[in-house]
């Protein structure tokens, strides 16, 4: 029941927010996170085309042997991605809350440029109260 990391990916596949909360996964450089976010963005688009039946969304949950990646795609194309342990049952709910915090603390902030990295103390504080302090 651990939340490792939260990413926000803009509609072009760029990583605009990334924060770690617990140890357990590898510590990567910010450049590596950028590359992984771009990859995830591409994979997400392909997975919706591979549906064997009817139309499909992109990948919603990706599982490894010890952790999973839960993806929330919003109507505007922004993706919220949560890396958690396999047993974490609340990932979807947490992502919905993060989306709310994003709407309140980022989208309503007149000093924020859309699609650009999120540097907002208000958003940071909301995430801290939602998920925990973790690592800066």
């Amino acid at each position: 029941m651990t939340i490792f990391s939260l990413w926000v990916i803009n509609k072009a596949g760029g990583l605009v927010y990334q924060r770690n909360f617990a140890d357990g996964l590898a510590q990567l450089t910010s450049n590596e996170y950028l590359v992984l976010a771009g990859t995830l963005h591409g994979i997400h688009a392909i997975t919706s085309r591979l549906s064997p039946t009817g139309s499909s969304s992109g990948a919603q949950v990706i599982e490894g042997e010890t952790f999973k990646i839960t993806i929330l795609l919003t109507a505007t194309g922004t993706k919220f991605v949560l890396l958690t342990s396999l047993a974490e049952a609340t990932a979807e709910v947490v992502l919905q809350r993060v989306y709310e915090a994003y709407s309140d603390a980022v989208m309503k902030n007149p000093f924020h440029t859309p699609e650009m990295p999120i540097r907002s103390e208000g958003f940071d504080a909301r995430i801290t109260s939602l998920i925990g302090a973790g690592q800066p």
Binding site: L25, A26, Q27, L28, E32, L36, T39, L40, G42, I43, I46, T47, S48, R49, L50, S51, P52, T53, G54, S55, S56, S57, G58, A59, Q60, V61, I62, E63, G64, E65, T66, F67, I69, L83
Partner: protein, 206 residues
């Protein structure tokens, strides 16, 4: 709950086997040269005279087991070209492109999971709103990929069963199948029938 399809890839990224069950969106036939021979008659390119591809040669020519003896062979159901099924295929991808996309996705996700975990951890599955993809990779680099209903639990054990059972019996122990050849798939009647029996016997099938 149901099972949609099974892909097997070798360590050279080539699709060597394909079979499907309850797929409603059928892939178009692969283009000429798009896939190896003997992957699946259902998706192989048509021969130049428009006929369906000939059956795999990996079943012994002295085959005394015909379908009249009770052996269930799940192939040879190729619809004629003007069939409605073929018509419905027009909106979907050709099989060779689909196979490459599936391989690209599992390879990228596999690398991503390895990188994120920092360990030699395997990617096991992903789920979308309508289907779930499961991956099992053998030590020799063969990748077994299965698409099932989104509601099914992990099916890696089934892929393991396919590897331990039909794959070893009818591919590895079949001297007529050239493994790792890069020109031929591994399709043969016994392998196909055996997998079909195994999958249809699962509780998640139907």
């Amino acid at each position: 709950m149901t099972i949609y399809s099974l892909y097997i890839y070798d360590r050279h990224c080539a699709c060597v086997y394909y079979q499907d069950w309850h797929r409603t969106k059928q892939p178009k036939r692969a283009g000429e040269g798009g896939i190896l021979n003997a992957v699946s008659q259902a998706v192989s390119p048509l021969t130049p005279d428009g006929a369906a591809p000939t059956p795999s040669a990996f079943t012994s020519p002295r085959n005394t087991l015909s379908s009249t003896t009770g052996l269930v062979v799940a192939i040879g159901e190729d619809p004629p070209v003007q069939d409605p099924v073929e018509h419905a295929r027009s909106s979907t991808l050709p099989f060779d492109e689909e196979a490459k996309l599936v391989y690209g996705v599992i390879l990228s996700l596999r690398n991503m999971v390895k990188k994120l975990s920092g360990r030699d951890e395997q990617f096991t599955s992903y789920r979308t709103s309508t289907y779930r993809l499961h991956l099992y990779e053998t030590v020799s680099g063969y990748k077994f990929v299965m698409l099932s209903d989104a509601a099914t639990e992990g099916l890696r054990f089934v892929l393991r069963q396919i590897y331990n059972g039909p794959f070893l019996d009818f591919v590895v122990r079949n001297p007529l199948v050239p493994m790792d050849s890069q020109v031929q798939g591994i399709d043969n009647d016994y392998f196909r029938a055996s997998i079909d029996r195994l999958i249809r016997g699962l509780s998640v099938f139907n």
